[in-house]
């Protein structure tokens, strides 16, 4: 059972790596922030999978912290744009380079 969970965690890491690689070359930094969020989500899932596989329940605290930090990273990214209040209107059709 443990090795099956390890295999599932590895598969998840490969998925996250593929998403990260393809988004990292996407160009604009918003996609890179999405890649970071994807890594956060996949990281939480991997840590949860490893907990019963390794029988060590301290990984749950790590997953909890990772969930918190992923959310804070997105908020910090938005805060970097400063107090400009976006005007309502058509969202920019960000063309993929």
């Amino acid at each position: 059972m443990a090795d099956l969970l390890f295999a599932a965690a590895t598969l998840l890491l490969l998925l996250a790596a593929a998403g990260l690689a393809s988004l990292w070359w996407a160009g604009n930094d918003l996609d890179r922030m999405l890649a970071v969020q994807l890594l956060g989500a996949a990281g939480i899932a991997v840590l949860l999978l490893l907990t019963p596989a390794m029988g060590d329940s301290s990984l749950l605290d790590t997953a909890l912290l990772l969930a918190l930090l992923a959310a804070l990273a997105a908020c910090a990214y938005r805060a970097a744009f400063g107090p400009t209040r976006p005007k309502a209107g058509r969202p920019p059709a960000a063309p993929r380079p």
Partner: protein
């Protein structure tokens, strides 16, 4: 009994990974940034929910199971907020770009506090 629990875990973890794959595929293939945000936050969270559900019988104690559900709840609430925050970042970036273009033609107007 443990065979049933591990079968239950495998089925749900496989489904969770399937949703993660769908979320990642959607994140990569969707054209606009806003639709990518949607794909990321929705599909990955269903995947996480299925994985947590699958891992509940494997949890060492009830406290660990409760902590897993708490992690899923935090990730769920966080991704709802992250979706709104990232969408506003997209619009703010567009507004800044617009202001810069307009700024080239006219003096930059003071942004409202």
């Amino acid at each position: 009994m443990s065979l049933l629990a591990s079968a239950f875990t495998l089925v749900f973890v496989a489904a969770g990974i399937g949703f993660f794959a769908a979320g990642t595929l959607g994140l990569v293939r969707l054209p606009g940034t806003l639709s990518r945000i949607h794909a990321l936050t929705k599909a990955d969270n269903v995947g996480l929910a299925l994985i947590v559900l699958g891992l509940l019988p494997q949890a060492a104690s009830v406290l660990d199971a409760a902590k897993m559900v708490a992690i899923w709840l935090l990730a769920q609430l966080a991704s709802g907020a992250v979706a709104q925050v990232m969408a506003e970042a997209v619009m703010a970036e567009a507004t800044l770009a617009e202001a810069k273009d307009a700024g080239d033609a006219a003096p930059p107007e003071e942004s409202r506090p």
